[in-house]
């Protein structure tokens, strides 16, 4: 005969466990932890953390001007991050995003460079520049994909290589053929203002660029969540072999994901030229490709989550510029905060997987 043991009461340990295993609460915990860690870092630097946070808040959303700057910076990041969702979904790491953005900028600037002075109207040239930018980004991404598919080169190494080449091409152009008359200093001459994306008066924000970003993320969401293409891409990302068996041409899908990602990168690059800097210059990619990878990872590859996370990341880096002026702190502090955020989210992810291994882990039938 066996006696039935008493039911274990729901203890506080149980509550913590639930908090740690729920996706949402675990992200909240990660954010709190990274804030705490930042707090410690700042205190060690001998500065009042509250001031730091208030300056950052002020610098990112404290005024109309700050908000328009925030949105302006958000555009390329959200484009980069949403483009990366295609490759992430297909199980690929498009490290080459940086180079693809640069190529987009080069193509866009190139189009304007060759068309300025022709009778074509300003808007028409902008449209042509935007599309050639997208073409440039897509082309660069396509090359990485080709190398992966036919040369068996891992896309991470291929991407790094092509970043390097894009950098070299960019430097060559701005110091060489496209340098402004008389000087060579890492940036071309400004494009004529008729080729600028119209900006809100008194601000750097172009509603066209903002619109492009919103349409972009919508497209990504619809394609990934609602179409056969998105579903197949997801299948390829999760299990390429089984997907092939189910009749999906896996290498074609991987290539397509690169091309789509490159289109977004190119769009981001051309907006950097037509909507923001109005020149071609070195580092024009603004690290959006790398930050985009972090955003995509944190968003767990969900289009809707990309929107707030990319906003937070932009706010962090925008807010941090004021730190240098007011507190003489290195603005790279925002990079530290972003890094901490990523690390803690990934850490919590790990904890969550570990704790719920029993129920979500491998099932042996």
């Amino acid at each position: 005969m066996v006696t039935k043991p008493a039911e274990r009461p729901e203890s506080t340990g149980g509550l913590i466990r639930t908090l740690l295993t729920n996706r949402f609460s675990s992200i909240v915990i990660a954010v709190l932890l990274s804030l705490a860690a930042t707090w410690i870092v700042i205190s060690v630097m001998g500065v009042e953390p509250v001031r730091v946070f208030s300056i950052m808040l002020n610098g990112s959303v404290g005024s109309v001007d700050a908000v328009t700057q925030l949105l302006q910076s958000w555009v390329p990041l959200v484009l980069a991050s949403s483009g990366l969702l295609f490759t992430f979904t297909a199980g690929l790491w498009n490290i080459g995003m940086e180079g693809q953005i640069e190529m987009g900028a080069i193509f866009a600037y190139g189009a304007i460079h060759f068309l300025s002075g022709t009778p074509l109207s300003g808007p028409l040239v902008i449209i042509i520049a935007t599309f050639s930018g997208m073409l440039g980004g897509a082309l660069w991404a396509y090359l990485v994909g080709l190398l992966k598919n036919y040369g068996n080169v891992n896309e991470i190494f291929g991407g790094l290589g092509f970043n390097f080449i894009a950098d070299a091409v960019l430097l060559f152009l701005v110091y060489g053929p496209w340098k402004p008359a008389g000087v060579a200093q890492g940036s071309t001459k400004m494009i004529e203002s008729q080729y600028w994306l119209p900006q809100l008066p008194g601000s750097y924000l172009s509603l066209w660029a903002l619109g492009a970003a919103i349409v972009g993320i919508l497209i990504v969401a619809v394609v990934l969540k609602g179409t056969y293409f998105g579903l197949k891409l997801k299948a390829v990302g999760k299990n390429a072999k089984a997907s092939f068996m189910m009749g999906i041409p896996t290498s074609r899908y991987m290539l397509l994901s690169f091309i789509l990602c490159g289109l977004f990168a190119g769009l981001a690059g051309s907006i950097q030229v037509t909507g923001f800097l109005h020149v071609l210059r070195n580092s024009i990619s603004g690290s959006y490709g790398y930050v985009g990878l972090m955003v995509g990872m944190l968003a767990n590859y969900q289009p809707w989550v990309v929107v707030p996370i990319s906003l937070v990341f932009t706010a962090l880096s925008k807010g941090a510029t004021g730190l240098g002026i007011d507190l003489r702190l290195d603005s790279n502090l925002s990079g530290v905060i972003q890094g901490l955020l990523v690390i803690f989210v990934l850490l919590m992810e790990g904890v969550r997987n570990r704790l719920s291994r029993g129920s979500k882990g491998i099932s042996h039938g």
């Binding site: 039935k4 043991p5 056969y228 299948a235 997907s243």
Partner: protein, 494 residues
């Protein structure tokens, strides 16, 4: 060592996989654990071996309460588990496989380990060379290796989760002899299966699970009807051997050759008729799997033709050398045995699988349509799950059913690798019922199975493979189990 499980509960979301299960296994006995697919057998075994943790309940070893948090804990306590799905084996040597799993220090004594290994395997008449690479072993040999490894680590309790799927008849005999010997040495054995005959032949006591509940136990002499009733809540009768044969040909295989690193298959000739079921029998690695993959277009034959007959006038097209997708487009469907590697996609839901498997109807996925289709298939194939269940949340048997449910309609040729592996008898019969319906609609089936009963029972004709040689087709009705056993063992070939 005596094992006692008391009032074990385990829930996966809404599913109560183990609902207050208690079970005692005395040292020196073989405990059979029966139950239909999804009954909770593997769950209980994983709890005992530390792979997952129970929500509540106690585990006692020799009357002492223990806590098991990880597989390492259970190994320390002397519990070893052989999993239902073979674990990943990295490409390393047999000895190294032993060494990495052992708690020895930095500099293990290879010579000593090899000596111990050889002694151990002599006891059981195994013959695995310690210097071969693990990934070149057959499923049966890997299983033997795993048993030896667990014993070598000092296992006193051995859990075998459906160990007879995927191994040959002679390997099975050897396994049973081993189990008996281990019991005689005083080990406690837990033997999970849904094959009644095996359990009856081997076990000194049997328990039956249904929907997470222990339905009761039985000791010899066993009453099969009673056990079946306990498993399914009703008794069952074997259905009739179906599928009408039609005279018209559907495929002609001519002079097919395949060259594989380990095997050369020469001059295979046979035809496939509409509505016919052809069983391919043979010990694992005899060539039947290669032929099946060649017919599916996954493996490129080195010579010969695979003709598909088009229309009544006997016009035919040669598919040999064409792309796998061309085969698919012509209605040839392959169902791989490695479910989670080749057949299904972990992380995707059932509904997503159905959407992928069907003909694409437009650019956008029609959610409602997919939802309805999924619900229908789930009921049709009796899958325990919802459209939203992810594949890895299904039990082994239900994954198998899902794979079968993914087949499109209509099809010309179904190529099945172990179609009912992991299914209980009732589900297996049900699935075969479905397959036979396809035959009535004109599809043909070629399948391989290590279950000779299944081959004889469901085939119209049988091809036997031995070391790359292929026999002429036998009428299934004219073959007995014994004859087939002899043939696949290489005896009786002219």
């Amino acid at each position: 060592m005596d094992v006692e499980l008391i009032n074990i509960h385990k829930r996966f979301g809404k599913v109560h996989a183990n609902n207050g299960i208690s079970l005692t296994v005395k040292s020196g006995t073989v405990q059979g654990i029966l139950g239909e697919n999804g009954a909770g057998k593997s769950t209980l075994m994983k709890i005992l071996s530390g792979f997952i943790q129970a929500d509540s309940g106690d585990i006692l070893l020799d009357g002492k309460k223990v806590t098991i948090h990880s597989p390492a804990d259970s190994v320390k306590l002397g519990i070893g588990m052989l999993h239902q799905d073979p674990q990943d084996f990295p490409p390393m040597k047999v000895v190294d496989n032993l060494i990495i799993g052992s708690p020895m220090g930095l500099f293990p004594d290879r010579k000593k380990i090899i000596r111990e290994f050889e002694e151990l395997q002599k006891q059981f008449n195994f013959s695995i060379s310690p210097e071969t690479y693990v990934d070149t072993l057959t499923v049966g040999e890997r299983q033997q290796l795993e048993i030896l490894r667990l014993l070598w680590l000092g296992a006193e309790v051995l859990i075998l989760d459906e160990p007879t799927t995927g191994i040959s008849a002679s390997q099975k005999d050897l396994l049973f002899a081993t189990i008996r010997k281990l019991a005689a040495q005083g080990k406690a054995i837990l033997f999970v299966s849904h094959k009644l005959d095996e359990v009856e032949a081997l076990c000194s006591q049997v328990v039956v699970f249904r929907q997470g509940i222990n339905m009761g136990s039985m000791t010899p002499p066993y009453q099969t009807d009673k056990l079946v009733e306990m498993m399914f809540g009703k008794s069952i009768v074997r259905s009739e051997n179906v599928c009408e044969k039609q005279e018209d040909k559907s495929f002609e295989i001519e002079e097919l050759r395949i060259d594989d690193v380990r095997l050369a298959i020469r001059d295979v000739n046979f035809c496939i008729q509409k509505g016919e079921v052809i069983g391919l029998a043979g010990m694992e690695g005899s060539g039947q799997a290669l032929i099946l993959r060649a017919l599916a277009g996954i493996l490129r034959p080195t010579g010969g033709h695979i003709y598909m007959i088009e229309g009544a006038d006997g016009g035919r097209i040669d598919l040999a050398g064409k792309h796998y997708f061309t085969y698919r487009d012509h209605g040839i469907h392959f169902l791989p045995a490695a479910r989670l590697e080749e057949g299904l996609i972990q992380g995707l839901s059932l509904a997503e699988h159905f959407a992928l498997a069907e003909e694409q109807t437009g650019f956008m996925v029609d959610r409602d349509q997919v939802e309805n289709l999924s619900k229908k298939r789930i009921t049709d194939f009796n899958i325990h799950g919802t459209p939203e269940s992810r594949i890895e949340e299904l039990s082994g048997g239900n994954q198998q059913r899902a794979e079968l449910a993914l087949m499109r309609d209509p099809l010309r040729l179904l190529l099945l690798e172990h179609p009912t592996r992991g299914l209980d008898i009732e589900s297996a019969m049900y699935i075969w019922g479905k397959l036979k319906q396809r035959c009535e609609d004109g599809a043909s089936i070629v399948f391989i199975s290590s279950d000779l009963d299944e081959v004889i029972h469901y085939s119209d004709r049988i091809l036997v493979f031995y070391g790359g040689k292929v026999s002429p087709a036998f009428e299934a009705s004219s073959v007995t189990i014994d004859m087939l056993g002899q043939l696949i063992g290489g005896k009786g070939w002219s």
